[in-house]
């Protein structure tokens, strides 16, 4: 089976600074992959390149078997199959319904189908009561839940989650984890997850990538990385110490 993502010798610079330098990443379909690493290590940047939001400076990206040449049609075709819940959970002006419906509206789904899909998504996240609420007035956690519902509504093949439970209370977080696992198992959605919650990574992930200073210093099954980290930086990160 061809991998969903194949990244080769990827470099991304901002000004003079190299913020990402990846030799090789292959991610196979229908997996849950967690990206771990300290702040500023390049997790979001890596995710944005895979999600076709940020263009890499050198190297090749291959998604779902297609070499990315950043042409308009190719981008749109692939973007229609991937969705990202960004770190900020930006809400469009309007109510919760408008927000969750957005992805379906631009796909020109008939109105009746949209309503049903929106209600279903909100229900999954326990946010049905907020359907008519002004999206800009939601609490941080509520906003994150709506952002997840909005992403799930379009039933993507690939779902990127950038710290999806950062502002979520423990019980809701467990619920969200359950749904993430559910859509992965039942719908076969590939999930790329950035998280600072090590337990969450361990509970959810089939595979873990560990980032440090723009580089991927270790990768492996969740079990291996958590039980026998090979790289010294991974080891100290997991144990909460710092390396100098």
């Amino acid at each position: 089976m061809t991998p969903v993502f194949k990244l080769h010798k990827i470099i991304k610079r901002y000004g003079q600074r190299e913020v990402l330098h990846i030799e090789e990443i292959n991610i196979h379909g229908q997996k849950i992959c967690a990206i771990l690493g300290p702040n500023g290590s390049g997790k979001t940047t890596l995710m944005r390149i895979m999600g076709l939001l940020t263009r890499n400076d050198t190297g090749t990206v291959n998604i779902l078997g297609e070499d990315i040449h950043w042409g308009k049609e190719q981008l749109l075709k692939l973007r229609r199959q991937m969705t990202m819940v960004t770190q900020t959970s930006f809400m469009f002006e309007g109510n919760v319904y408008d927000n969750v419906a957005y992805g379906l509206k631009i796909r020109r789904m008939p109105e009746r189908g949209i309503r049903a899909a929106v209600e279903k998504s909100l229900e999954l996240l326990g946010m049905s009561a907020f359907i008519a609420a002004d999206a800009r007035n939601l609490s941080g956690g509520e906003r994150q839940k709506v952002a997840i519902a909005r992403a799930l509504a379009v039933e993507p093949r690939v779902l990127f989650l950038d710290e999806p439970t950062a502002n979520i209370d423990p019980q809701s977080a467990v619920e969200i984890e359950r749904h993430v696992r559910f859509i992965n198992r039942e719908l076969g959605t590939t999930i790329i997850l950035v998280t600072h919650n090590l337990f969450q990574a361990r509970r959810l992930a089939d595979e873990v990538f560990f980032m440090w200073d723009g580089k991927m210093v270790e990768r492996g099954s969740a079990k291996d990385i958590f039980e026998q980290p090979q790289d010294e930086r991974t080891r100290s990160f997991l144990s909460g110490e710092t390396v100098f």
Binding site: G51, L52, L53, K72, L76, R79, R80, M82, T83, M84, T86, T88, F90, F92, E93, Y102, G103, I106, R107, D134, R136, N137, R150, A151, V154, F160
Partner: protein, 239 residues
């Protein structure tokens, strides 16, 4: 002090009496300024949005020039249009000087930089987050651009009302290229100048009141538009 109170009284009477001359002047004012606003908006909103969204060469420079022209003195805008439309000017053959058309041209020159510049700014302030969110939900570039503009609509409405306020209130440009001709190019601001000069203080005050009422109506209009798109207008909470 008496002069002012007396003037205010007579001015109010004048407004109340619906003097046909004054109504005609008010209509010319509104017609000129609203036409100029409409044309400037049709040009300025798309261009401002495009400049904010697209990396084209010379974009920074163009925006900086636009920002500079936002404060263009009206009389200078008038002068530019005057030089173009005067008999010896490049468009002199059309004999547009001292017509409402000339006034509209000068006011477009005043409104365009405000609308274009403020649209560009407000679109720029939002673009990355809105773009990312739209695109990750499957939007095409065009759909994402539309989402950004939609999210910027409050800022664009503010730009339009700022421009309209300036147009209705300015005197330099319309005086220079309109010539303050009774029944044709006389507008509210130029009549105030004229009436004051002729010692008709109370008429000047009456027209001034109409001008204020128009400005106030513009404010009310923005508030209504704001409320329609911002259901929650409670504002930020400061304690």
């Amino acid at each position: 002090m008496d002069i002012i109170i007396q003037g205010l009284k007579e001015g109010l009477m004048l407004v109340w009496s619906m003097d046909p001359k004054i109504i005609q002047i008010t209509l010319v004012s509104l017609q000129v300024s609203l036409s100029a606003l409409l044309i400037a908006a049709c040009l300025g909103i798309p261009l401002g949005a495009a400049l904010a969204l697209k990396e084209v060469p010379g974009r920074r420079l163009f925006l900086n020039i636009t920002y500079t022209f936002m404060g263009l003195p009206p009389v200078l805008a008038g002068l530019i249009v005057y030089l173009v439309l005067t008999t010896r000017g490049p468009l002199g053959q059309f004999q547009l000087l001292f017509t409402p058309t000339a006034m509209i041209c000068a006011q477009i020159l005043l409104a365009f930089p405000i609308i274009c510049g403020l649209t560009a700014r407000t679109v720029m302030a939002q673009r990355q987050e809105v773009y990312d969110t739209a695109v990750t939900l499957g939007a095409s570039r065009r759909q994402a651009a539309w989402a950004i503009i939609r999210e910027s609509r409050m800022g664009i409405i503010a730009a339009l009302t700022t421009a309209l306020g300036r147009l209705v209130a300015e005197v330099g440009a319309v005086m220079l290229v309109g010539g303050n001709i009774e029944g044709s190019t006389r507008v509210l601001t130029t009549s105030i100048v004229l009436e004051t000069r002729m010692g008709e203080d109370s008429r000047a005050i009456g027209i001034g009141i109409i001008l204020l009422v128009i400005s106030f109506s513009i404010i009310v209009l923005i508030n209504l538009l704001e409320k329609r798109s911002f259901k929650n207008d409670a504002g930020i909470q400061i304690t």
